[in-house]
């Protein structure tokens, strides 16, 4: 029998899939990751950015809480450049039932999560925009994490160990021979082909049910959709949580230069599309404004929805909040597909643990004895200099001094020509949208009005054959779709200005190829 192309194929380029790829590669397994879109195309790119301390789960799901705090500590160690140590605070308002605060303290202590009560006055010194109705404040080690950098660092680490990555490649079939995995059928930019493998890891998140179905296996997924609203400024230093049982609009996460208010929870079977309604956005803003009152009047930049990859063998769609946030590893050998496993559920915070358990199972199947090393081995550093807030970026830009590379492409987010060039040089084949993912270009208040054509210009200067105007148009459409549910006041005004620039000054809508 011929040796198959790979020992293992990982399906899904989210943080979990890239974590599995890294783990396997570090153990010497020849592996390939296939991703239907770009890295973090699904849930990993559309969550609120929180690196959980575990406190949000401590009362209801102590197992998940313990996993969170343990992994929180590990991720800070192995990926320091992907984490901003913001800290988090649970806020009990005057109208909230006080006993939850005491339950939270007790549950956190049981789960080994550091929790410190802070006087409300002191909490409002640190975060002056917190509600004046703050009755109790509890500090926990929440942080924020950049999923794009994390996924890319995982991939780079895996590639250093010989692993391969294929983006824009969709798995359309699983080849099973005599009850064993023999390969996958994929469809990518170069057409359809068969890739031989001895093992398959289904890390497709909300699509896990679809992927399992290709092999005739059953994984009951209930994608739990949540809406997040991006506000145009950082409204707090710390992650602000409501101190009560988790519900809609109870968290505000400072991510980079913005704050993200979230979230909601609706179970819908479709892992791909969720139509965000204006009313849902306004409801999230109203609820979050109870924590940070200025949020009611603040300017939202855009909204997005992410699907939590909830595993729900009971198929009880009414209880998405109550479903466990823990993860499940399913071995499909019992369903006649030996060599295929699915990793479902879980949270970004525990991605490494999920990857470890998954890789352990695959290695057992492959007879690989090398132990997991991902908890101790740091990830490679990111390409862009680490900076979360505008002040840090300003300092960095000042230090770099003058020169073409220091020219700002994006004034909103202080992103330089050198940085855009570095991002595009690595991934320019897939357009501005993919090439710039994670850089925050076009994510500020002007929603790409000024930076996008400059970035398109850099593409054309590099290679005049790039369809730069089509990519520019796609990039602007993406920004528009994100802003569409929040087009009022200043953000509506910005959209109409962008219309003047792109339709009236440039007639981009009539350009050949757009």
């Amino acid at each position: 029998m011929n040796r198959p192309d790979f020992d293992a194929v990982v399906i899904g380029g989210g943080v979990t899939g890239t974590g599995v790829l890294r783990d396997l590669a570090m153990r010497g397994v020849r592996c390939l990751l296939v991703e239907q879109g770009d890295l973090c195309h699904g849930t990993s790119g559309r969550f609120h950015g929180l690196l959980h301390s575990g406190a949000r789960y401590a009362v209801r799901d102590p197992v998940a809480a313990r996993e969170c705090i343990a992994e929180n500590r590990i991720v800070r160690q192995i990926a320091p450049d992907c984490v901003e140590d913001t800290g988090g605070v649970f806020c009990l308002l005057e109208e909230d039932p006080e006993e939850y605060a005491d339950r939270l303290i007790e549950a956190c202590e049981d789960a080994d999560i550091e929790i410190d009560e802070q006087a409300p006055d002191r909490a409002r010194e640190v975060d002056p925009l917190l509600s004046p109705r703050l009755a109790r404040a509890l500090e926990v080690p929440d942080a924020t994490i950049n999923p794009f950098e994390l996924a890319m660092a995982n991939v780079r680490s895996a590639e250093n160990c010989g692993a391969r990555l294929r983006r824009r490649t969709r798995v359309v079939g699983v080849v099973v021979e005599r009850g064993r995995v023999a390969g996958v059928e994929v469809e990518g930019p170069e057409g359809r082909e068969r890739i031989g493998t001895r093992a398959i890891v289904n890390a497709a998140g909300p699509w896990a049910g679809v992927v399992a179905g290709l092999a005739g296996a059953d994984v009951a997924m209930s994608p739990g959709w949540g809406v997040m609203v991006v506000m145009n400024e950082r409204l707090s230093r710390r992650v602000v949580n409501r101190c009560r049982m988790p519900g809609d609009g109870d968290i505000v996460v400072p991510v980079g230069t913005v704050s993200i208010a979230g979230t909601t929870s609706h179970v819908l079977p479709d892992p791909e599309h969720y139509e965000i309604r204006r009313a849902e956005v306004l409801a999230v803003m109203r609820a979050s404004a109870e924590l940070i009152p200025t949020l009611a009047e603040a300017r939202p930049l855009r909204v997005y929805a992410g699907a939590r990859p909830l595993y729900d063998p009971g198929h009880d769609a009414s209880r998405s909040r109550g479903m466990t946030r823990g993860h499940t590893l399913l071995d499909h050998a019992g369903e006649g597909v030996e060599g295929m496993v699915s990793i479902v559920g879980g949270k970004l915070t525990t991605y490494r643990l999920m990857a470890e358990e998954t890789a352990d199972a695959v290695c057992r199947r492959l007879g690989v004895r090398t132990p997991c090393a991902t908890a101790a081995e740091p990830l490679p550093p990111p390409r862009a200099a680490r900076r979360w807030q505008l002040g840090e970026r300003l300092t960095l830009n000042e230090e770099r001094g003058a020169g073409a590379d220091s020219d700002l492409v994006c004034e909103c987010e202080l992103i330089t020509r050198g940085e855009v060039g570095r991002f595009l040089s690595e991934r320019r084949d897939n357009g501005l949208e993919d090439g710039l993912r994670g850089l925050r270009l076009g994510m500020g208040p002007c929603q790409a009005a000024f930076c996008a054509p400059r970035a398109a210009g850099l593409l054309a200067a590099e290679d005049p054959d790039t369809p730069a105007l089509a990519q520019l148009a796609d990039f602007l459409e993406e920004r528009f779709r994100g802003a569409r549910p929040v087009l009022w006041e200043d953000q509506a005004r910005q959209m109409h200005l962008n219309e003047i620039v792109y339709r009236e000054v440039f007639s981009l809508d009539r350009a050949p190829g757009v």
Partner: protein, 421 residues
Amino acid sequence: MPPVSEPYDVVVVGLGLAGLTAALAAAERGARVLALGKGYGTTHFRSGTIDVLGHAGAEVVGNPRAGLAQLCQERPEHPYALLREELEPALTLVRDATAESSLELLGDLDANRLLPTALGTLRPACLHQPTMGADLRGASVLAAGIEGYRDFEPALFAANLPAAAAAHGIELRARAARVEMPPLRRHHLDGPGLAQLFEQAWFRDQFLETLRPDLGDATLVALPAVLGLRHAAEVHAILERRLGVPVIELPALPPSVPGMRLQRALESALRVRGGRVQVGARARFVREGGRALLEIAAAAHPFRIPLRRLVLATGGPVSGGLVVERSGRVSETVAGVPVEQPAGEPEHWYGNDFLGAGAQPVSLAGIRVDAAMRPLGGGEVVDPDLFAAGGLLAGACRSAELSADGIACASGHAAGREAAS
């Protein structure tokens, strides 16, 4: 807050194309005019052309006069339906006024001209500045960017212009050059800053010297639209003479130097006709004891102006004349004039695409007026001494039609004349 004593016959709020045209039209009829605004209008964002009608559905309009006739027939609720006779005199007024500042506007209502933009696309315009148009047929175009000026990338222009021209049956070649101007230190140059530099001989000399070796077989040189603010005609003539080939300017990202020229020329013509101009004044219409007043929140101290006739030319959502409210309402910001709301639920005020066919449904919202440009509410004239013009008016899809400037000039002309009568 005492009212100022100085009486004006006509007060215009808004310093964009509509407001200045209204003020000029009123001043031409002998009215004492004050034009004020919290800032400038969208002239500074646009191309510095006068777009009357550029697109009709998927078609590029070749003849605006004919296109208008069809538009008015198909869409009787369009502002142009009230303004067809107004366009010709309005464009004449604007053209004459800018000519006084040596800013010629070429073209007429019988033909749109296709003008290249900084992205290498082509756009139709009815009137354009002489620096913008050239015969493109068979041209060998050299696009020159200036190192450090981020808003014009010649490679992007050169890569796209041939296909854009071919779509209109024009064959041409284009290539890119980049001019490095060491004294600029390549740091955050913008259009107006470069425009001032181009008005200085030492800068032009050095620019020409650096560019000349790249000229080759070029029959046309394309530059970003930054060739001077006050003396553009002169700068343009010098560049053409010294390069020995025609030179065109390409409209780019805001701030728009050609737009600023247009605005300055109109403002200057208004002053010559005795009009007063005040920038930095945020106005609110109030009534007190039966008297109509304009309350001005100026930088120094607030004051009130007694009103005889008021023209609102405060623009649409970009300029702030209209605001799309969070509550799901579009409202007028200075006088609280009734606004014809967009059709349907706020959820559907914006379509699925940014650049898709047709306009955003919200664009049709605005103020309905009668033939004398007086706002209507429930079909009745709201106030006989109140007039409206420009981006405020309901019923147009300006960005899809390329009609904003024509509507502004024609409605401004009508409103100014009526207010002064």
